[in-house]
Point group: C2
């Protein structure tokens, strides 16, 4: 890398205006700070400062892969359709797969992921259990034809991923590499300066059994997370729900006239009880079309995936179907359901002896409806979407809620692809067996956006030192004079000699413009050189993250920054310890 | 990078068999050495050792770009068709442009080059002459839908290029950057260890005026080069031809019966004169369809591009057209041509007073045909393809011939793209003017193949130290014993500590297998550790390039290699000075 970045010649056009279609902070700020530009829907160019950040994110990811013995390769972006037919994903992947026909009418796709091609790469050459385990990784451009690309780098159509694949003879070996990868992913998140959680997740398109997502915590995230100080964290879609409905204890079944009451909120208000004491009913059909009514605590929502797991083929009824079955929307309950209707209830309701429910008649509800006495529950199951305040499945304390950006994911694929593509090895007994496989991805461009989502303020980006385009920006308040500019140049050179990446704002701009741009671009440390200070032998050092300022002697400022920088690189938990300079 | 490469776990399957479709040494050897694999027609994966080489080539190219102040960016591979319509290349580029339609029926191409997109990137943001000059570069994957991909990395469909673009207010500024880039390209070729020539070239598809190709000299090259010890070098297609036909002096025009003579060789043999004393005729039509006959010295070929330049629209006649005009194939000449036929002759024939030519009658030729007396030449022009032995246009000495692989090319584009895409800046007078532009490309994957073409022998690849997957391979002849393996491990660690990249062949393979693989893969230095040598305190060092071997004390071998390695890195012309160890 170049040692000193001169802003006078740098192509980093900053913008005052916020682009109108940029909803997220990362999208707005990367555009405004002159780090990237949109070239088409979901297509971006990275300008020099953005490129430096991207290269650093990539280097951190690759270093952690090398450190666990994964071997770097690169595979084509353009992938022959034949391989995707072999895996069955050519059709299954749908319109997000970008397809292309060459001049000889052969079909290809632009790879969104590389399971097929890496399986084809090793089959016939990785032949013996003695060559296993093997982990290969690449950093490559990927494609997903999003129906509505948006949020800048968060959902672009062309993006950079690090994807790794591992091959194993045994489940133990797969588990070991999966654990190694998970450890490396944690270190990557730490080195990127991210607040993160590793969450249990669903495997989606890739199709494996054990999987975990590495989420950067951010309001802008698309994923909902439930987590606990004990360390537990899960995708809210996938987490087990341990909620505690409360008992509204009445001695006998009582039919209450509830005129106009349709919702749980209205019912709770009418009866003067908490929503947690009510029970919500959801009517649907099972795979055979039989009426199935699900019951969950009134303050919780049904989780669709769990409903499907409990009742295979479950679909909610629409209004017409409800009428056909003689059901009353807004006052359904377990007592007096049509003949043959099946009742499935959330496990948490097992502890509730007396339910508040609809009476299957408009404007009427029951209190004191007792399972086993007034109605039968044919199945208890985990049905609810987890909420903040539910008990942690690991330690029992109340869960916290958060939103997250999926930066990385690890999967145990098993033999899904090796069987489909007939990729086998000879095991110790001489038998041909399909590989066990794992795959492991980090969204490199998305990680960059996630860092900005976590690290910004009103003024602009606040880069962690590990991925900042440079650690320090030297700002001479005047250029072309005898005192300030030469001092700034000498200081920049001194910092560069100490191994610190330095920018110098040698533009003939007003001080205000330079300060605004420095805050917008987000250099971790700014060193401001003015005439008056220099006459007294001092410069002002500003810590971008905290806004702390301090006058430091010109003669010692480089050494002080270098000390904080070295401390940051030698294993402190947070990669930015420049604040030590201000204490 | 990882410090020690362990061959026991490395994914580098070497092949004994030569893949049948691999015609070139680079193609064969990169496959055989386990450095790359074919994934489809013109599509390759790079395995770990090939990846290391590719990363090194890329790093050398990028370092030289950074050193001349070019700024690194990256632009999308997927390019909107609109931009190519603006430049007029969407149609003009033809079937080599890979086109793709997205889910919303919008058209894109996979960029073979990025003139359009970079011009769109800077227009409206690069606004003032004060921001100029500016040089931007990227290393990106490119596409060309070759009708018949072949020769491995030499003509693949997906390949890696470093492409740079510069923007200028004046021609002087463009020339300065063009010169800087040319200098950087020379240093890149040197650092890759290539024998090369910078040759004058034709600008092809890109469409500029001043251009130069950086050719790696190699028999496998597709380009013909004419060069001279004085420093002159040109693409044989583009070079001025200064040839010297010889005079067959006869006093008067004489019609000679030449039964069966059709070719120049037959004519020269029949008359007992050198081919240089004969004159070859080529009949064609000009843009209006008028008969035009071109004459060149008998030992030279017509250069089609020069013919077009001399006679706009020139096309050769086919046999039917020749009959229609009453011409006799194999005995055409300037005397007695059909009425109105135009005679255009190579300039070199101006010095030849008496020509040996066809008589426009089967089995008859003329000797002593004198221009100005027996026929008229209406135009003298440079028509010939240059040949080794022709005079150098620069110094007059005989030219040498060579074949080359085009690794890099630099162009002065002028305003070709800035005008088409309406990319302008405000000059010092306040006038809007289109940028002057330059563009500069290096084929990164092709450079890797070019290195192998120059650096290989019967046994395999001979990597220059600068791009070798590692500089040294330590080969313990036995593994698992008390003496050899621990000594090898210690030596590898010692070399790594000295900053040298080391591989260790810790596989349980026979010595012969290890030697063959080491030669095939092409580590510059092999250090062989055997029991007998170690008992005497020595190891054998082998220099891959020269095959030289030497016994060196185990205690001093690391320091000796390190010395040669440091010498190589501190500016010697050749990046490989390990041979010093063997003197």
């Amino acid at each position: 890398m170049i040692n000193i970045i001169r802003l006078s010649g740098l192509y980093a056009p900053t913008l005052k205006e916020v682009p109108s279609d940029a909803e997220l902070a990362s999208h707005r700020l990367l555009l405004r700070a002159g780090m990237m530009r949109k070239m088409g829907s979901g297509l971006y160019s990275f300008l020099p400062l953005g490129m430096r950040v991207l290269d650093k994110v990539r280097a951190i990811v690759e270093e952690e892969m090398d450190a666990i013995g994964a071997q770097k390769i690169v595979m084509p972006i353009l992938q022959p359709a034949e391989l995707w037919h072999e895996s069955g994903r050519w059709e299954a992947y749908g319109p997000e797969l970008m397809r292309i026909v060459d001049r000889h009418d052969a079909n290809f796709c632009l790879g969104p992921t590389h399971e097929e091609i890496i399986t084809a790469l090793v089959r016939n050459e990785l032949r013996s259990y003695k060559q296993l385990p093997l982990s290969l990784y690449q950093t490559q451009v990927k494609y997903r034809d999003e129906i509505r690309p948006r949020f800048g780098l968060m959902r672009s159509r062309e993006f950079v991923m690090k994807d790794a694949y591992s091959f194993h003879a045994t489940q133990e070996s797969l588990q070991r590499t999966y654990d190694d990868m998970s450890g490396a992913y944690g270190r990557i998140m730490d080195r990127l300066g991210l607040q993160w959680r590793a969450v249990e997740a669903d495997s989606g398109q890739i199709g494996g059994k054990v999987t975990c997502e590495f989420m950067a915590l951010a309001e802008a995230g698309e994923a909902e997370i439930a987590h606990c100080p004990c360390g537990f964290a899960a995708d809210a879609e996938a987490a087990e729900c341990l909620c505690e409905p409360t008992l509204h204890d009445v001695p006998a079944l009582e039919r209450v006239h509830t005129p106009g009451v349709r919702t749980i909120a209205e019912l709770a208000a009418f009866l003067g009880i908490p929503a947690t004491s009510t029970v919500k009913a959801l009517s649907g059909k099972d795979a055979e079309g039989a009426l199935t009514v699900l019951f969950v605590p009134g303050d919780h929502e049904l989780n669709d995936l769990k409903a499907l797991q409990a009742v295979p083929g479950f679909t909610l009824l629409n209004d017409d179907e409800m009428s056909t079955f003689g059901l009353h929307k807004g006052s359904m309950g377990p007592v007096g359901l049509p003949e043959g209707a099946r009742v499935v209830a959330d496990r948490s309701l097992q502890a509730v002896a007396s339910w508040v429910v609809g009476a299957n008649e408009d404007d009427y509800h029951y209190v004191g409806a007792r399972p086993g006495e007034h109605f039968e529950v044919s199945q208890w199951a985990d049905l609810c979407q987890v909420r903040p305040g539910d008990r942690c499945p690991s330690c029992g304390l109340p869960l916290q809620g958060a939103r997250g950006i999926e930066v990385g994911q690890v999967f145990q694929l098993g033999t899904r692809y090796s069987e489909a593509l007939n990729a086998t090895f000879m095991d110790e007994d001489g038998a041909e067996r399909p590989f066990l496989m794992g795959c492991y991805g980090v969204g490199v461009t998305r990680a960059m956006a996630a860092v900005v989502e976590q690290c910004h303020d009103e003024q602009g980006i606040v880069w962690p030192s590990s991925v900042a385009p440079a650690q320090v920006c030297v700002i001479p308040l005047t250029v072309g004079d005898d005192l300030v500019q030469p001092a700034a140049e000498r200081l920049a050179a001194e910092l560069a000699d100490l191994g610190i990446e330095v920018a110098i704002d040698d533009r003939s701009e007003r001080a205000g413009v330079k300060f605004n741009d420095a805050d917008l671009i987000g250099w971790p440390i700014q060193v401001v050189l003015g005439k008056r200070g220099l006459q007294a032998g001092t410069v002002e050092v500003k810590h971008r993250r905290t806004g702390a300022r301090k006058d430091v002697a010109l003669t010692s400022v480089a050494e002080a920054i270098s000390f904080a920088h070295r401390a940051a690189r030698t294993g402190a938990v947070s990669p930015d310890v420049y604040h030590l300079m201000f204490e």
